[in-house]
Symmetry: C2
Subunit: 198 residues, 2 copies
Amino acid sequence: MARKPAPGPRDERGVLAARILTAAREQFAQHGWAGTTMRAVARTADVDPALVYHYFVSKERLLDAATDPPQRWLRSVAETWTTPVDELGAALLRLMLGAWRDDEIGPVLRAVLLTAAHEESTRDKLRRVVESSLIGVSQLGVNDEDRLRRSGLISSQIMGLAMMRFVWKIDPVASMSEDDLIAAVAPNLQRYVDGELT
Amino acid sequence: MARKPAPGPRDERGVLAARILTAAREQFAQHGWAGTTMRAVARTADVDPALVYHYFVSKERLLDAATDPPQRWLRSVAETWTTPVDELGAALLRLMLGAWRDDEIGPVLRAVLLTAAHEESTRDKLRRVVESSLIGVSQLGVNDEDRLRRSGLISSQIMGLAMMRFVWKIDPVASMSEDDLIAAVAPNLQRYVDGELT
């Protein structure tokens, strides 16, 4: 018989909720918004479907919880922005590559990118993540308009690289070493940071 | 009563097939692979579901037909690659911006990008489109490895820009004028074309 933990004592709640969120990220990333069901998430997490509803109420709220960026990620983003401006291109690229390698942050980023195209609320979240992490805290540019443009262009290159390397897995970008990738791409990011754009 | 054209005379076949493909692109782009049904495509195209099966057999084959790049697009890609090498960065960017504006090509590109994340066969097709249009015909680099890297990096920037501007619609990249975008991005593409990458 399948093991189906019932809603357990209080200290078990965090463990089960985390297990459900891990399963949800996996399902959303693999099957998209429309292809994911609460039942499949429960099965992947090895819990009773009723527990998924009990903790997360609806598929919308489950997606919302599953795609919330960890505090640790927001802190490392904020830290990266303290890098001296002439090394920022490489630092932002290293931040992204490290995030995708991270056991906790990588699956969240993947779930966000893979549901954003079809789910308006995740698109809003992607927008907010981009704005707060890549745009909001940046000190770039001579004025607000310039700052937003530079940050948006940086995001376009970083996101495109993430799609090619981690989501669509198109070679040779998918298989290049991180060192080669940084050598090739960081100077382009650096131009968006402090180069002439007009 | 709803108008439901039956399989008509031979010269009607092309018209109905085109209408089904248009509806399929719209559905796949909006709801993704898992969220699209043959029935919804038939409803959008205003035809009988049996006709969709009759012409396209299965959802897999419908997606395949709906995401085939038009010959006209492949020709304009090949033509772009004849641009003098020092203007290629801007030319490739103009090609992409024009393609998204095109009534026929734009919806195909959108359907490819929006289903590639969750459908292995579309991911293969995206790979082939990237390889044949952006990589295969290019004359870049000093050897094959260098050529493939340069083309892959160009694709990463162009695809990232397309996602930000047309799919996720994140400002200011989504709303910048084409001229501003070309001024900001073309020099970065040009570096991937003929700059020092190591």
